[in-house]
């Protein structure tokens, strides 16, 4: 196989920035992700075997259950590499399993948004863990400050929405966060990060222009502290599942119904959360040239005419001389006989990428073999995403 070296202008390193749009809808205690409805399967209540609103990693156990179809599950054998599943604690790994034992995990692994509401002066370990991070972003906006004259996130009421990174990638794209709050189909409030500095500013509602919270773009958290009434005074609802003591609609109750013990089936109230993720995909583009007069010979056995086998006479006193072997003429002729004039033609079907030690590290296959004649210049553009 001929090897050809890439020139200095044949390899390009690029980064592809992609911004996938994400939309969550929360209604009546059910979270909908990307407008996907609940699809009941033959063996599970919701395919692909996770509740709607969840992302299934690997998507392996689509419509499977343990009793009728069996579940796909991962396992490793405990050995010197000490590889283990996160679901097995280090203590258990060391004491409960012998070398050679099988450690099993389970699929599906799933993720979705979650919500934590903290009343006044309540214990809040999750918010406390974000203290340094919030203070770090004070250079973007004073509203990030954990404690300031704008409020103390350690004691005030906080509505914390957590977004796992599998949803958004590297970070949430600045300026794309859009939270809307509907009651009976009427928009009562809308928050957007129009300033692109993490402040969630009310663009529609009872207190337009006010900041109701902040977004941690890189970490995937939304903290809402805006406690003003979004509806007319006197209108209250059972957000806290504490009827008859109801509370007025505010940003503190945005997302009620996301995996928390509040009133998950509150009628007529729904929420929509939209944002774009941000992902950087490094790519390498390689240009593989097949110039005129190059790559017009193949080591494939079919390159030779049928029956064109070499003499293989060997022996202690035998002189061996390989006979010339005929290359198959594949040039199309309008006549069966005579055939067309011979040309060296190959059909390029694959391009191998080798490292400097000539180890094959990648193969690019073309959709259909490309005809290569002596007078034809070809350039194949190979793109590799990481």
């Amino acid at each position: 196989m001929p090897l050809k070296k890439f020139g200095p202008n044949d390899i390009f390193h690029n980064q592809l920035e992609v911004y996938p749009q994400v939309q969550f809808d929360i209604y009546s205690g059910v979270v909908y992700y990307q407008n996907r409805s609940i699809i009941s399967g033959a063996f599970t209540p919701s395919t692909p075997n996770v509740p709607t609103g969840f992302v299934s990693l690997y998507e392996m156990n689509v419509d499977r259950n343990a009793s009728e179809t069996g579940l796909i599950y991962p396992f490793v054998v405990k050995n010197g590499s000490l590889s283990n599943f996160r679901s097995i604690s280090t203590d258990s790994f060391m004491s409960d399993f012998q070398y050679g034992d099988i450690l099993t995990g389970s699929y599906p692994l799933s993720a979705s948004i979650s919500r934590n509401y903290y009343p006044m002066n309540s214990s809040r370990s999750y918010v406390g863990a974000l203290q340094n991070t919030l203070n770090y972003y004070k250079y973007l906006s004073k509203h990030y400050a954990f404690s300031s004259d704008l409020g103390d996130k350690g004691t005030e009421r906080v509505n914390l929405i957590s977004i796992p990174s599998i949803i958004y990638g590297s970070s949430i794209k600045k300026g794309t966060v859009d939270l809307t709050f509907y009651v009976s189909g009427t928009l009562i409030g809308r928050l957007q990060d129009t300033a692109r500095n993490g402040e969630l500013i009310e663009t529609s509602g009872s207190n337009t222009g006010s900041v109701a919270g902040v977004v941690l773009y890189n970490e995937g958290f939304i903290l809402l502290t805006g406690s003003w009434d979004l509806e007319a005074p006197g209108i209250t609802r059972d957000y806290l599942n504490s009827s008859p003591i109801n509370v007025p609609s505010s940003w503190l109750y945005y997302g009620v119904g996301i995996s928390m013990g509040h009133n998950s089936t509150l009628p007529f109230v729904n929420y929509r959360m939209q944002f774009s993720g941000s992902n950087t995909i490094p790519t390498v583009t390689m240009l593989a040239h097949a110039n005129k007069g190059e790559l017009n010979y193949s080591s494939n056995p079919t390159f030779l005419a049928y029956g064109s086998t070499p003499n293989s006479i060997t022996g202690t006193y035998t002189f061996f001389k390989e006979d010339p072997r005929e290359i198959k003429n594949t040039v199309l002729s309008p006549y069966a006989d005579p055939t067309a004039s011979f040309q060296k033609i190959t059909y390029i079907s694959k391009i191998g990428i080798y490292d400097e030690d000539e180890n094959l590290i990648g193969v690019a296959t073309v959709a259909t073999p490309v005809k290569k004649t002596l007078d034809r210049n070809l350039t194949f553009k190979l793109k590799l995403d990481f």
């Binding site: 699809i39 395919t47 392996m60 179809t69 069996g70 796909i72 590499s81």
Partner: protein, 328 residues
Amino acid sequence: MATTFKNLLSTDMATTRTLLHEAIPITGTIVSGTYQDENIKYYSHGMFESVYDYPYLSSSANRIFDLTYGYASDLSGAANPMNAKKLNIYNEMSLVLNGANLEGNIPLFDADGDLSVTTTDKMNACIFICYARLLTKDEIKKGSYTFSYIDGSNGLTTLGDYGAQTDYRVNSPAGEYGLLYTSSVAPYGESYGHIYYQAGIAVITASNDIWPNALQSAWIDTNDITGACNDVRNMWVDNNFNNTTELNSTIYFCRADSGEFNYSSNQTYLSESKIIVKAGDPSNNPMAYITTIGLYSADNELLATAKLSEPIQKDPTNSLIFRVRLDY
């Protein structure tokens, strides 16, 4: 930004390989019946059919395997349905899995895998199950494959690559393969097929009495390829195997000896030019809390960072070794 570097010696680095497996069950409930064949994709060329784990029009569905049938030229008959395509399928599979012989001809599948010696155990008609890479990953684990079906003549038949952990063949250009037996107890007796571990293809004889005679002949001269595949699917009871994914890791042993890394360049380490952790007494030992380990290139470029779940106290009275694992 680190200001103190320590070179990793060759003895501080080790490479390991971990084999991660998945147990894959493919029951008959998935392959036929449950979805009224909405999970079976048929093609106009009719050369094979694809089986999905859910109706394939759903975005949730995954293709799990392709099923096809073929025979060698000695069973060829001009009147047979899809005769040329059955021949092509067999020849293509044989060329890929057996390779051409020294004469440049396509050999027949051989039950015991020995292409040169025996001539009476050729599998001249075969069922081919080509598993999706999603299921087989790097390779199928040797000794884990079983395939069960039921028919009216023989009842339940189970084929497995019993004993293949140590006894497998290596004379295929497609990688290693094991032989499929009906007996799980050594000596296993006659082989009825092959399972190609790296290629993820099962080849099961269709010209042996493990299938009813009427079916064998119907697949040749009455049914097209789709008909033969549907017969196999409808008899399908269970299919299990384990796949393997190879995880390569490099382990860096980062050593902090007693006299090392007891100070920090962190701004919070000092207050009024005094080391805070000494609590105002200069005679106290210095102390640092290690939170992050950075791996740098020879040019001091930061390549990777390892975070500890909690800061580890370091002072001159202790010596620490951090085991940093990088998976590829």
